[in-house]
Homo-oligomer: 240 residues x 2
DNA sequence: TCAATAGTGTCTATGAGACAATATAAC
DNA sequence: GTTATATTGTCTCATAGACACTATTGA
């Protein structure tokens, strides 16, 4: 900081949060998008998010607030972690905005947010966003890409996949999480063996779940561990 | 954003960057720290960094500028990637400051920054920071922890380890990178085989490097690939 | 019965980890 | 020669991946 005057004051910048909410619906990997009601880019799809309410609101708190306001989701029971900051000048036409992106994982099937405050929210297949079939406002597509890559990576070494499931789940359900996020298909029988060989990952919950057809599936619950060893390895290297 | 007045303006916040510069010196994993010359916390060690110069400076650009100003390192040839944003209120006694942290990997042995602008910079063993033997200003210890965990993780599936090496390197040198970052020891003979079995990771550079004693080591260069498959797996699960 | 899904067992190729043995330098 | 480091080879065990087979439900 040499050469700066004693009177120099650091510049101040508007700070926002954006949230990538991921879930599994009918075995398909989805992200929650909002139709923007205001300019700029009114009418296009965007991630839920917004500016800090006031100068002293915590960024994590702001993320939880937006989660509630825009997606009608309660933070408890959701996995929420920070992704990165997106703050290059020019990313927002309104001016200099630095946005801190969060990734949230929602279990089960939170219905597409009924007639609530978040009625213009919709679950969109992640694939449609990555492929460009659905276009997003600002740099939100890149943010989704980063979130998906983060999720793909964490599925290997952490029990993050369980955040996509309810308190109890079947191994087939868990398999669909891995398949949906990784974008590949796995052998159910090998998956079975592999998952149960990782200490602390899942443990039997004692009961079963009846499906429309076929043998009922045993229910499992989280085994308490967060680090998977040995790790689950993706069969095909996914490009970053 | 319902219920907000049309006149409402988003709050503005001071934005800074902090850089975790990692390197390998004499087979020991080091981080670059600066002795703070100004209040608050003058005299304690801290990560190089500082506020944006002006409202329109890019955060990545600011990180590169601080890299040059405070550590006298040139960005070219350095691996620089963003880590995360640290912006909870209360983390900086000066007021509300949001800091975007970057991780930089430096190869070889950039001397501890001679009599330059960055004369109060010093390489400190990462272990001393993690263990608390050296205490850091603000939440910088947490930032270093996060950077180390990021590096440990990326060593598994990407060729990031090569960023710690020069243009050519021996496999023993590469092994020391893995050992230093992961904090474990590896069998040289198995490491040899494993590294060379990963397509696109390393390739022979044709020449050798003579050591003080023993058989000269073959030199290698980067193989061009960035994703490692099969991945290098850590022998012991390191807690986050 | 059949259709459908859950779960077990088995085989084989590959990689991990341990470690003996050899190669090539300085002295 | 000795010492030190690099590199190759070998052995054994565990895991991945392929896939036949059995189990348990609803219709």
């Amino acid at each position: 900081m040499s050469g700066t005057s004693d009177l120099w004051e650091p510049p101040e910048i508007q700070v926002a949060v954006d949230i990538v909410i991921l879930t599994m619906r009918a075995s398909v990997f989805h992200v929650l998008l909002i139709e923007r009601g205001e300019e700029p880019q009114a009418g296009t799809q965007a991630l839920p998010g917004g500016f800090l309410n006031n100068k002293w609101e915590g960024i994590y708190d702001a993320a939880l607030r937006e989660l509630k306001e825009e997606a009608d989701l309660d933070a408890s029971g959701l996995h929420v972690e920070q992704l990165a900051a997106y703050g290059e000048p020019g990313r927002d036409p309104r001016g200099r905005v630095l946005s801190v992106a969060y990734m949230a994982i929602a279990p089960g099937l939170p219905e597409p947010s009924a007639g609530t405050d978040a009625s213009d929210a919709a679950w969109v297949p992640v694939e449609d966003v990555l492929s460009g079939k659905v276009s997003l406002a600002f740099d939100h597509r890149q943010i989704v890409r980063d979130a998906v890559e983060r999720a793909r990576s964490k599925l290997e070494r952490t029990s993050l996949a369980l955040a996509f499931c309810g308190r109890t789940f079947t191994l087939t359900e868990l398999q669909h999480v891995y398949e949906g996020v990784w974008g590949c298909s796995l052998d159910p029988r090998n998956f079975y063996r592999k998952v149960q060989n990782i200490p602390g990952f899942v443990e039997p919950a004692g009961s079963v779940r009846r499906m429309a057809a076929g043998r009922p599936a045993r229910l499992f619950r989280a085994g308490g561990g967060t680090v998977l060893y040995p790790p689950m390895v993706r069969p095909v290297p996914t490009e970053s």
